[in-house]
């Protein structure tokens, strides 16, 4: 910095050259870099600090998945004097509604993953104190967080709303204590699953449109294949289920939801009545997660691109 020489009568003024100032404050390492990438990915996924177009999809989807909760609470409020036990949607069913967030995954996972590869930003990232595992943790973590929030917030609205329109808020609360862990646990299972599968598929290409179509296609094809297998299987008498239901990777986390809420697979579900169906579902869930993480680990193990 240089300042103009001062002399009596001279105008007070200065010319500043801000030049370069070394940084001497605290400095983080891998954890700090991972957290920074996590925050940046969340901002990107929600369209924050981007044009309004990028904000439309996430917040419209949040609104859509919140509609059943708002309607349910609204009807409860309107009918509160008639003492009609109207329940449009249960907490367990609501986790199923959150599977609509698959659309969000198909949109956001490619947007968070693909440009880094396509625009060759990865070398810049990995020239920082960051390794491939940190990158995967940050990306998957950011999408998991948003999915969890978008699935959990409507449930909070539903719970608080139901509590407020009930005859006794305290009775409602104490009567639904199990919901307080059922919902976060099952929503977390759903969010992690969709985030890992979405990121793994998106990591295989650098084109967003291809990645998005692949995510949708994976879930669509396995859903159809599962339906065909279940419908055309041998007659199982009163039991509606078939192990072929496990082919449907879209629905897989919903069997785990049933295990959390009910302690067993819903007998009315496509897997209902299948011997050790719940165990198979858990095993396959873990296998799909492992496969997805394996793909991600492999894709970002070598970073010299």
């Amino acid at each position: 910095m240089s300042a103009a020489a001062e002399s009596p009568g001279a105008r007070r003024g200065a010319v500043y050259d801000r030049s370069y100032r070394p940084y001497e404050g605290p400095r983080g390492r891998r954890a700090a870099a991972t957290a920074a990438l996590y925050r940046a990915s969340i901002r990107r996924a929600l369209g924050l600090r981007r044009s309004w177009r990028q904000k439309v999809a996430p917040f419209v989807l949040l609104a859509v998945v919140s509609v059943p909760a708002i309607v349910n609470v609204g009807i409860g409020y309107i009918t509160r004097e008639r003492r009609l036990p109207i329940e449009i949607i249960t907490y367990r069913d609501y986790v199923g509604v959150s599977s609509a967030l698959l659309l969000f995954v198909a949109l956001v996972a490619p947007d968070v993953m693909c440009p880094d590869r396509r625009q060759r930003v990865l070398p810049l990232m990995f020239s920082r104190p960051l390794v491939g595992t940190d990158y995967v943790v940050a990306k998957v973590g950011s999408i998991t967080t948003i999915l969890f929030a978008f699935s959990f917030l409507p449930q909070v609205v539903l719970f608080v709303g139901n509590m407020l329109v009930s005859d006794s808020a305290l009775d409602y609360f104490t009567g639904h204590l199990d919901v307080l862990w059922h919902v976060p646990a099952s929503v977390a299972l759903l969010a992690v699953y969709y985030a890992v599968v979405g990121c793994a598929v998106a990591s295989l290409t650098d084109r967003r449109i291809v990645a998005g179509a692949s995510v949708i296609g994976l879930f669509l094809v396995t859903s159809i294949a599962s339906a065909v297998i279940v419908d055309n299987g041998p007659d199982r008498g009163p039991s509606p289920g078939s192990p072929g239901a496990l082919v449907n990777v879209l629905r897989l986390p919903l069997y785990l939801r049933d295990l959390v809420f009910l302690g067993h697979v819903d007998p009315a579900s496509p897997l209902g009545g299948v011997d050790r169906g719940g165990m198979y579902a858990v095993g396959l869930y873990v296998a799909v997660l492992g496969l997805g993480l394996g793909v991600l680990w492999r894709r970002y193990r070598w970073v010299e691109r």
């Binding site: 940084y23 870099a33 920074a36 600090r49 625009q119 060759r120 990995f126 960051l130 970073v303 010299e304």
Partner: protein, 301 residues
């Protein structure tokens, strides 16, 4: 010592990118020179710990890269040659995010991003998407993201690539300023003029092997020749010098005379004066880095 390489070798299945490089480089502005495919980018990846050497050891800023690549990366800034910026984001956001990725707290990263973008001349454009930037502005943004973490050493891979002459001069001026801030620079390029203009040390590699390394000034030895520019009258001067016993020839529109000592230098001056020729320039001719490179690369290894 900025850099210490010991028998550094990197082999890929089809090619040996670096072959037994042993080298010590002091802090300062270093030019890493070599033709395309000489191994410059491979060396950068090795210095960053992004790939492992087949053989040998690397120390950067006193840290063993193999032992602690994360520590090395936290001290380095890197500006790749290729396009590598997210085009749909604002320069301020990108540079700030890379500051955070370098380990800076969020507030400090935003502040430094602002300062550094100002330093590289992008103060006015920092809130514009990078997709709308010119090549020169993108190069500056790449330099800014390399500097935002306050590195000890910046690796610049062809920083003047794709720039027009003015942009190139401005970029070289920026690189030269980094030295005054106490930041060491390794600038990989195949443009020897850039190195000659900016760098105080040179490392030349060819086909993965060390050609020559040393201070730029020491490599640019006097050649024992003077260049005399007398406009259109060079043939007259060559004849006059020949009569005076000084060997001379016309090279690139000027006369180059071989002189041995100050007496012969005076003689050249006197011949010009006696012939009544206009003297536009009389200078000692230095070896160019091109000549050093060609001579050393062509010589026996």
């Amino acid at each position: 010592m900025l850099l210490r390489l010991t028998a550094l070798t990197k082999r890929y299945p089809a090619v040996t990118a670096l072959d037994g490089l042993t080298l010590e480089v002091p802090r300062g502005l270093i030019g890493l020179v070599g033709a395309n495919g000489a191994g410059k980018s491979t060396m950068f990846r090795l210095l960053l710990g992004l790939t492992q050497p087949t053989e040998g050891h690397i120390q950067v800023c006193g840290v063993d890269v193999a032992a602690d690549p994360i520590e090395v990366r936290s001290r380095l800034g890197y500006m790749p040659e290729h396009d590598c910026l997210p085009l749909d984001q604002m320069a301020a956001d990108v540079v700030s995010t890379f500051g955070e990725l370098s380990g800076l707290p969020r507030r400090a990263a935003r502040q430094r991003a602002s300062d550094i973008l100002d330093l590289v001349g992008l103060d006015e454009a920092r809130f514009r998407p990078i997709g709308g930037f010119s090549t020169g502005m993108r190069q500056r943004t790449k330099l800014a993201q390399a500097l935002v973490g306050d590195p000890e050493l910046v690796l610049l891979d062809e920083p003047t690539a794709g720039l027009d002459p003015l942009g190139r001069e401005e970029m070289l001026a920026l690189v030269a300023r980094l030295g005054t801030f106490g930041i060491s620079v390794i600038m990989a390029t195949h443009l020897l003029d850039d190195v000659q203009q900016v760098c105080d040390h040179v490392v030349m590699i060819d086909a993965g092997r060390l050609v020559v390394a040393g201070e730029t000034a020491s490599l640019l030895d006097r050649t024992g020749a003077v260049t005399v520019d007398v406009g259109r009258h060079h043939d007259e001067l060559v004849a006059g010098l020949a009569r005076a016993g000084v060997a001379a020839a016309v090279v690139n529109g000027a006369v180059e005379a071989t002189v041995d000592g100050d007496q012969q230098l005076d003689l050249v001056r006197d011949v010009v004066a006696d012939l009544g020729l206009p003297l536009f320039r009389l200078s000692t001719r230095l070896t160019s880095l091109d000549e050093v490179f060609l001579r050393s690369a062509g010589g026996p290894e």
